[in-house]
Structure formats: C-alpha cells, structure tokens
Symmetry: C2
C-alpha cells in the first residue's frame, strides 16, 4: 500500500505526541573556527538518535539577552543545547521557567539550573602555565577571552594561580582581554610585544586568539618560538597544520558533544531531574610554538 511514497505528516504527529524530534542548537558565532567541529559532532549524535537540529546563531559572541527562545518556542523544539553562553545570560532562568529541557555546553551561566558539560579549564590552563614555567619563562603575557564567559574566568584563574604558586606574577600591564577572535590576539600581542619590556611567552584564551597573536608576531618580524612562545586552548584541527603548529590545550570535544546530547535526550525522554554537571579532563598538546626563551 505504501509503495506510492507515503510519508507521515510530522506536524500532525507532533500535535498529538507533543514531540517534534527536533532540538535547538544555540551558538554565539558559527564563524568562529572553534564551532564547526562541535556542530559536526553534535549533529551526528542527534541524527543517530533520530533528532533533527535547528540552528540558531546569535551572530555576536554574546549570547546575552538576544532572545533565541521566542524563535525556538515558535518553531516548537523538544530541547535546547546552548553552546558558549555567557555567565550573565538570563537564558538559564528563562529556560528553567519554561520547563524546557536544556543543556549548556562548553561554557555555562552563573546559576546551575540546567545540565552542564564543560572541560576542566582551570587545570588545563594550569598545565599550560607549568609548561612555560618549566621551560624557564618568567615574563609571561596573558591574552584572555571575555570576562563574562566561564571559560575565560576559569582559564585565567588556573593560569594565574599556577604562576603565583611558583612565586611569580603577571602584572596588569601584561594582560589583555577581548572577544575570542583573531583580532583580539592580534591587537593584544601587538600591544604587549611592542612595549619596552616585552614578555617572552604568551598564553592565549583560545586557539583563535593565538592565531591572531602569531600574526602579530609575524608583523613585528619576531620569530616563534625563538623570540616568543605561544600557547592556545582548544586544539582545533587547524592548530595542527604545519604552518601554525600551535602548542595548545586540547578539549575532548567529541566526547563532550556526545555527553551533552545524551543528557539532553535523556531529559526529553525521561523527564527533567536535578541539574547534572559533567567535567572533562584536558590534555596538553606540545607542538612547535613553545621553547626555552631565546632558543
């Protein structure tokens, strides 16, 4: 009978089941090279579990009071996955009030109202600090992400803490901050390295910032790692390309994506429970942008 290409009508079905088999993915700026790999991983997880993925791109690195909720609620989805929300975002509360299944991935908001999965940014940043200190660097610059993101706050804390534990410090003059973008790294490094007593190493808030820093170093006709060592965070695939070859801290993105999707699907299929938090270990990836100072 159904040989003539019958397709059940999804609208009618979801009208009765009150399920759409579609999840919403909210992210801050898909243009940032960090995301595609995440989106890829998330998509294939969702697909294998029978869910579609509706994209909402906030278009700036601030998922603040942009309101993706209205958009999604009127498109009726079963759950929401937030990637890289900001700390001050009211999204957590709003979603909890709606009783909507939700998971925060990579970054989280201040109040743990929903499931969260992220990596151990503190210890990852600490391991980066340890590497630079062990190599003999004493004057280290810091170019961080935005202060309203949990990743930046925790990476800063882990990094600075380790430095201080060794009896050193990073003076204000050697700190810069901005969006997780190439430009932030470029401007930051230009400023820090152009000063009269420049640092011999830079810890960058993520890989994309580090790429900007590398470009600034090129611009200043200095060389990496001889004149300056550089470390990033994330280990996106581009960081392994030969011309970049960035030392960085790897986040286990595929596993994180799988976990986040699992939690979300569990929420929609088995009902909401108490908020859960999953933390993943990072791994230092030693490549070519770090060395003993002057070597």
């Amino acid at each position: 009978v159904k040989r003539l290409g019958y397709r059940p009508n999804a609208a009618a079905r979801s009208l009765i089941t009150s399920r759409t088999q579609t999840m919403g993915l909210v992210l801050s700026d898909i243009t940032n090279p960090f995301y595609p790999f995440l989106v890829d991983a998330l998509h294939s997880e969702f697909k294998s579990l029978g869910y579609g993925m509706l994209l909402f791109n906030a278009e700036s690195d601030e998922i603040g009071d942009v309101d993706p909720l209205g958009h999604f609620l009127s498109h009726s989805i079963d759950g929401l996955l937030f990637v890289s929300a900001t700390l001050d975002s009211s999204l957590g509360k709003a979603v909890a009030e709606q009783g909507l299944p939700a998971v925060f991935l990579n970054r989280h908001t201040e109040d743990a109202t929903s499931d969260r999965v992220f990596s151990d940014n503190r210890s990852g940043a600490a391991s980066a600090a340890r590497l630079l200190l062990d190599l003999g660097h004493e004057k280290i610059g810091l170019i961080s992400g935005p202060s309203n993101t949990s990743t930046a706050v925790e990476r800063d804390a882990g990094f600075l803490n380790e430095i201080e534990r060794r009896g050193l410090e990073v003076p204000e003059a050697l700190r810069r901050r901005g969006p997780y973008s190439h430009r932030t790294g470029y401007d930051g490094a230009l400023h820090l390295l152009g000063s009269e007593d420049p640092p011999t190493a830079l810890f960058c808030g993520n890989d994309v910032i580090a790429f900007g820093a590398l470009d600034a170093i090129e611009e200043l006709q200095m060389s990496v790692p001889k004149d300056v060592s550089v470390i990033g965070f994330d280990d996106i695939p581009m960081s392994g390309w030969l011309r970049i070859n960035l030392t960085t801290v790897r986040q286990p993105l595929p596993a994180m994506a799988r976990t986040a999707v699992g939690l979300l699907v569990d929420q929609v299929e088995n009902g909401l429970g108490d908020p859960r938090t999953e933390v993943f270990a990072t791994e230092l990836v030693y490549r070519g942008t770090t060395s003993i100072p002057g070597d």
Copy 2:
C-alpha cells in the same frame, strides 16, 4: 489576556497552513572552513524572513546518494537549500519529483531541475591563470577538487583554457585531484614539488587545498612565493590572515547567500516556476603568495 506567556503551537498551525516556517540546509561537510561563513549568511537571511534553519550535514564531501530527503520530509520543512551538491547526485530529480521547493548553491547537479546560484568559476579560474602567466610562470601545477563537482570541472576548464590560449599546457604529470581538503593540497603539492622538474606555481581548487599546499611547501623547506607561487579560490577570511596571506579568487558569498535564500522563499511563497540560474562574478585578490618566478 495573553500576559501569562501564551505561545501559539507551531505544530497545530503548520497542520492547517501546511507551512512550517522552516527550511532545510544540506551541506557536505561543515568542518570545511569554507562553510561557516555561508551558514552564517544563510542563517541570518532566513531569520530575517521569519524562517528557521534545520541543518543536515552529510559528513563527507559527497552529497551523493546519502539521503537527506527522508530525514527532512519526516521533519517537514518548507524548502531545501543544497550547498555543494555533486554533479552526479540524484537529489535534483528526487526533489523535483516531490515537488519540493529547492535551491542549489555554490555547486549544482547536471540537470537544472531547480533554481541554482553559483559564481562564474570559469572566468575566476581564467583570471588566476592570467595572473600567473603575466608574472612569467610557464610551468604551472594544478591541484583540483573532485571531478564530480561542478566547481572543480569549471575551474579546471577555465584555467586550462586560458593556459592553452597562451600556447602553453599543463601536462598530466602536473595535475592532481582530490576532495576539497587540506590533505589534498598537502599530498598533491608534496608530490608535484618533489618531482625532478617541479612547477614554479600551483593553482589550487580552493583555499583549503591551498593551505595544504602551503604546508607541504613548508615541509619541503621551500619558500613562498620565491620558490613557488600559490593561488587558491574562495577567499575565506583565514586567507587574509598575515601568516597565510593567500592570493586567491573571491566569491561574493554574502550576495550569493542572499540570492539563494530569496529564490527559495519565493518558491515556497509564490509557488514553483521554471528553474532560474543566477551567476555571480568573481574577483582576483592579490596577496603575498604570488610573484615573478624566483623573486
């Protein structure tokens, strides 16, 4: 009355209007740095017109007989936007048979059954050839994309045609081909430049392939553009980064995205008509990876 947060139920509404206000976006591999900018542009166009965007990532560079249709039909969308379909894909016919609004963007299939928008790949590639010839290169290598993509076929044709018009040629031994990936460029350049009579310039099927070629050149300890000139295609933002600084052929992606979305929305709102084709002009972007041979 509706102060208590009333939201119309999208499923019920679309049951009666037979519209979901959602479009499907099919792409071959979101991990390829070429796509995020497109996705971003498409998303904001759709959003501004009141449409959501459901993502389907084919996960390999081959949108062949992977069947996103089943996935989408069971998620009920109003129209489909295919980015980078392959020539041999049966998608065009399948979609046309379903009477589903669809647009092919960037690449197209053999039969023009739906609206299509792409750039003038032939003349873009010809302008790249002209640049290399004018600089004095006579031995030029070609690393193309897959032969079942319209972009690769047309770029090859435009490039080779211009070379021949000047009385030169690109022998088989100087041609390589593979997926639009970093690895294709890396392996291809390693092979071509490692031969006994290596070319002095390489035309790459797209920027990502060119990045791989640049890495191979680094690996071989040769220098760009002194030993080898390199040209890419697309002009994705990374190509403008200082450490890359790639000479390339720009496609006007934002305009192309706007047009594609416009055509698709027109189809769903005003009914299907005869297939339309929109072609966009490219622009040569002269940067630092090209020069007179040996200079």
